[in-house]
Symmetry: D2
Subunit: 395 residues, 4 copies
């Protein structure tokens, strides 16, 4: 009954005003995992889950990799799936269906759900997947494990569970420092720079949070309220500018959107965030008539090369025409736009409004962040912008 | 683009200070469902989900039953499962595994997740399952659908996402009136009765909530702080009693625990709730040395009959001995206690402390609730109590 | 240094999770009061203040009366005032002015401020004045003491410190039960009656709170949203009525306003409350065009008697005409309306809109509350209503 | 009725989602002030108060000075005081006492209370007094006005109305930037410096707030949790240090306390703050046994000079002895310690624990702040420290 004793010791510890500590369980990790998967009492399971997570946190990168391979081995049993499926076909019932479901889901999926019983575990599991993506890159045997993470997180981080919160100069500093760290598009240089993006009456920022990770933004978008659609990002971020009174604004520019959690890669929040922010802004500030994004065109240079055209920043006019052509006509095999940013916005009901040459500065500022996520680092090699408009007239 | 227009109209409506309304979409429900399952844009999907939920809410009981049969038909395709499984076996990869997972999960499961994109949908889906359990009782074709609900809710209502909140006389009235309505063990007769259970310094109540349903308790437990273990529930609920000063208490009696959501049947919260409440109380009131429950013994009468003994309330002493014998020795095939309440508490580390004859009054007060959930209605046919103790000494 | 020890013992007690207790100080109350008035250390003063308040709370009505006379004796010293005033006239400076101020304020005023150092003291001082008003009625020597209370409370409960909060069915039960208890105009019969006034979409309630007494409403107003100006209060309070959708309302009827704190008699909150509620409602529900009160006419019957007219409820038409005449033409010596309710509303910019015979039911329901405050009990002897309108057109 | 129209226009403005604006009232300020003092309707008074405050905010320094002289002229009328006092002596009653109180208080005091009816006015009035202290320095005619401000603020900022809040790295950035700005003892160099003082587990910070100025700390104290009493402030503020686990600490060092509001000069919060923080820490962390301050000895150098001793930083030992002698034996005329810091701490029950030579660094860091308040700028010319201990054993 040592686990029960452990559990109760946490009660004692917490009374002393501190986070509970666990005495190290002498058993090996696989043994703990097996016991956790078999535990019928929630209380016992919760204590085992704490042990497993604590063990994981103390591991080196290599040990984690080994643990991931151990997890990957808790795979579906194909024979069992076939058997349960056949039984369900012969006699479909709740019971036979449940048996099939149990067989079709690998034990590691149930394990992840059980680990989440521990307070604060959701954030730790998201970091665990970030470890997996980093440590396990290029190891095909770990891909299925990652799929289980992704599938679980897609369910847990369902839109219905996300909470939209404004981020302002009145937000807690420990959240704001994460905004500084996570801004992936136009790096925030300092707390003064941050204040310039949050405090003026013509600036807004919103983030999605999950209630189980209240200190960790999942994604955030920065918005500038303007009169008319601006031609470049530089004007928006200038240090010495006179802020607009919010009631005079007719346009909301979504000039930067950043994912914060590498461990949530592949789970898309951007569309929902833009939609809800646009909706909230429109209801608070009825003077807003136009909602635009200022976005890079990441696929342009590659496409130009394929066309045998070399990119010439000096020839802004021709580049702009080519960019417009590319955006509107270049398609993937499935008929959707070839450019990923165009796909995101146009697939969501937006229209191409204008193409600006040189509207996003060279990548200097963001150098330090480059390569953090391979999927976004390419964005910074581009030279021009798409302005996608959600014109109110069309509604 | 009518859905997009719909979406934007909601923005407009909300500005007018009201809940958004949807114009009725002329298409039939199955068509909407199909489109929702195929929608690639989150924005479009969210609007379709609102239509589907609104359509459902307007249905009669019969129409709902028909809709459930429609949902049930969105079943797994056994051939596809076998094919995807074989492909994964031949060439295991993230892609082939994902294809297998997609095949092994029926489309209705994904549908439920997509419906949850709508604000407030979680609560509506929980009610939908309550409808299913009521309307669909005895229809075996609907059992698998219910399994999908249960599996999804088990993931969504994972312990890690639940929030413990004290319920007190300072809690919002709209939550308190649900406590009155949901109390399943010792009915609360009036607001005055409720105040007697919440306001005195020697009374506590705690509930689990889910952040997406902040107005709906999932389960709650009522606790009395006492000196010594009380012999009956009546003494605890007396109208005219002098409350104990909380610092004088040495015992916490968990005298009632009630599930609130029929739609969450089969998802167990009780163990976690008792564990965390005991832990919190111990840390706040170090004088508490004993944690007990006062619970009925639902399986006793049936077991007595099997033994050829007829239940005789007049012979308290013998009944008590038989009850103790039953609790400690009668086992199921799997070696665990036969009595469900004993199974719950003893499996969780508790010890039998005492058996009291007549400690829970006859079922009169609870008559109106009888039959609400078949699983608990039997509890009220019993006559005596088990006191299970979580003795601190054992820690 | 026993007071210091006391102080530190409170630290110890609080750690034990309980409200701090004071060991009884053996000195007599006047001695404690004197020491409190002379204490230079805030820490010492705070502990003395706790002793004084605790001593007061344990007193019988007679002892309290004696204590009030003791307080009253801490009066201004006329000679000292004259001396300090003369000194200030001779040599006006900050120092001489401060000396004058100190002389012109009786020590009991400073005492009340020092008592307020104790957490929760504000509410206790308000109750102390309620005791004074009740126990000290008819004792002229206590009137000056009451003036000091009133002057202090006028400063402390300044409009700038009050917080407007909506009261709804989601408000804490311990606040709602005070709403039930304090409703002085149209008694609330039960929690169901309360729910009918708070929960429907066409009902609102707002109260002023002071941050130092967050559980105690100071005054609250009940509002019905209607189409058109209603003719009687009965229609508003009917049990079986179909609520209006809030967006359809064009009129806000302030049908009841109640002061909650007898200890704050003479400090007027009603005007500010109505003004701010009207302002908030107008901004949330732009469809509201008319703001009216349904008020009794307390002075009518007395005035009729003076005119030699006896009140005849059967002759509604004539009574209505006379009431209108009375409201618009009967003045006090200072030229303001003779009727107190008319004075309140008309002085605040309202117009008489209509006079309804029999719009407020006989006093039966409120009988139990009658006489709680002599100033309002007379209201209930009247038979008809004034509807005062704040027409938007006039703005 | 233009004021009433103004009032209602604010309703309209607020609906547009913006702070209300006032059309400029054409009357001169004195006329507005007179009308405000005479207004019988709260609604009218509130609008006039907004006009007066808005007018003030737009003034230059010189105009403000003139306005202060105007305010100062709203003085007590000595003849009226004498008359009312005599009347009260002849026939003491509530009415005659109220008349005396009204006469003894200058109209400007009532004016300040009426200005506070405007939302957010408290903070503006505190700034107004800060203006008065700065602009009016050396003008004796303004001293009495300042006394009225002080007297009013002493009542409004009574201990019973203050709220203690922890300041942490999770506090809102707009409050934290004020902590950076207001730190008067050991300047905070940057946000990183601030994080070092707030985020580690062995650091604490607490501030008093007033509910009517929730964004403005009034005073704050910084605390370090240590093992044993540290010998110097430098060790506490080192950049590269390993934080102590909070449960290992046995000592709480109050190493810096800063007043934030120049407009609240002369209203003392420090004692109450230290007392309550010590109390809260002791109850949260029972391991804490010693509570000390590290304070400068501002009066030492002056006293040495009077003794004919010149201060010699090289001779630490002798300076320390002299300092101890000075602290314990040098008294003012009233028998209390001559050193102001010693007076503060010893008067509050503390004991001198040790004298450290060179424990507070030279004033370089704080240079930029020097002279902000003349009362504290001298602190920085001193060289050594007093450690005052509140030993738990003595309780």
């Amino acid at each position: 009954m040592s686990l029960f004793a452990d559990l109760l010791s946490t009660i004692f510890d917490r009374r002393a005003g501190a986070a509970p500590r666990l005495r190290r369980d002498p058993r090996a990790l696989p043994e703990l995992v097996t016991e956790l998967l078999e535990a019928r009492s929630e209380t016992v399971a919760a204590t085992l889950a704490r042990h497993v997570l604590q063990r994981y946190d103390g591991m080196s990168g290599e040990e984690k990799l080994a643990a991931f391979h151990g997890l990957a081995a808790l795979n579906v049993d194909a024979e069992a799936v076939r058997g349960a499926l056949a039984a369900y076909e012969v006699e479909p019932s709740g019971r036979s269906y449940r048996a099939f479901m149990a067989a079709a889901e690998p034990p590691r999926a149930e394990l992840l759900r059980r680990l989440n019983m521990v307070p604060g575990a959701t954030e730790r599991l998201v970091r665990m997947r970030a470890d997996l993506l980093r440590q396990g890159r290029g190891e095909p045997e770990l891909e299925a494990l990652d799929e289980d993470f992704r599938h679980l997180f897609k369910s847990w981080f369902n839109r219905g569970f996300l909470v939209l919160r404004p981020i302002s100069w009145e937000s807690p500093a420990h959240v704001l420092e994460k905004i500084i760290a996570y801004e992936a598009v136009h790096a925030i240089q300092s707390w003064d720079d941050l204040r310039r993006r949050l405090a003026p009456p013509d600036r807004r920022c919103f983030a999605f949070f999950h209630p189980a990770m209240p200190d960790e933004p999942l994604i955030f978008v920065e918005v500038a309220l303007t009169r008319g659609v601006p031609g470049s990002i530089q004007a928006l971020l200038e240090e010495e500018r006179v802020p607009l009174e919010e009631r005079s604004a007719d346009t909301a520019v979504f000039y930067s959107i950043s994912n914060c959690q590498p461990g949530l890669a592949g789970i898309s929040f951007g569309n929902s965030l833009i939609k809800q922010v646009a909706s909230d802004l429109a209801s608070t500030l009825p003077g807003l008539k136009t909602f635009v994004t200022l976005s890079p065109i990441p696929g342009l240079v590659g496409w130009l090369e394929e066309q045998g055209v070399s990119y010439d920043p000096a020839d802004g006019k021709r580049m702009t025409q080519l960019a417009a052509h590319y955006l509107l006509t270049a398609k993937r095999g499935d008929g959707r736009p070839r450019d990923p940013v165009a796909r995101f916005h146009l697939g969501n009901g937006a229209l191409v409004h204008a193409v600006h040459a040189g509207a996003i500065p060279r990548r200097t500022a963001c150098g330090s962040r480059a390569g953090r996520w391979s999927t976004t680092s390419t964005i910074w090699r581009r030279w021009s912008n798409i302005t996608t408009a959600l014109p109110r007239a069309a509604r």
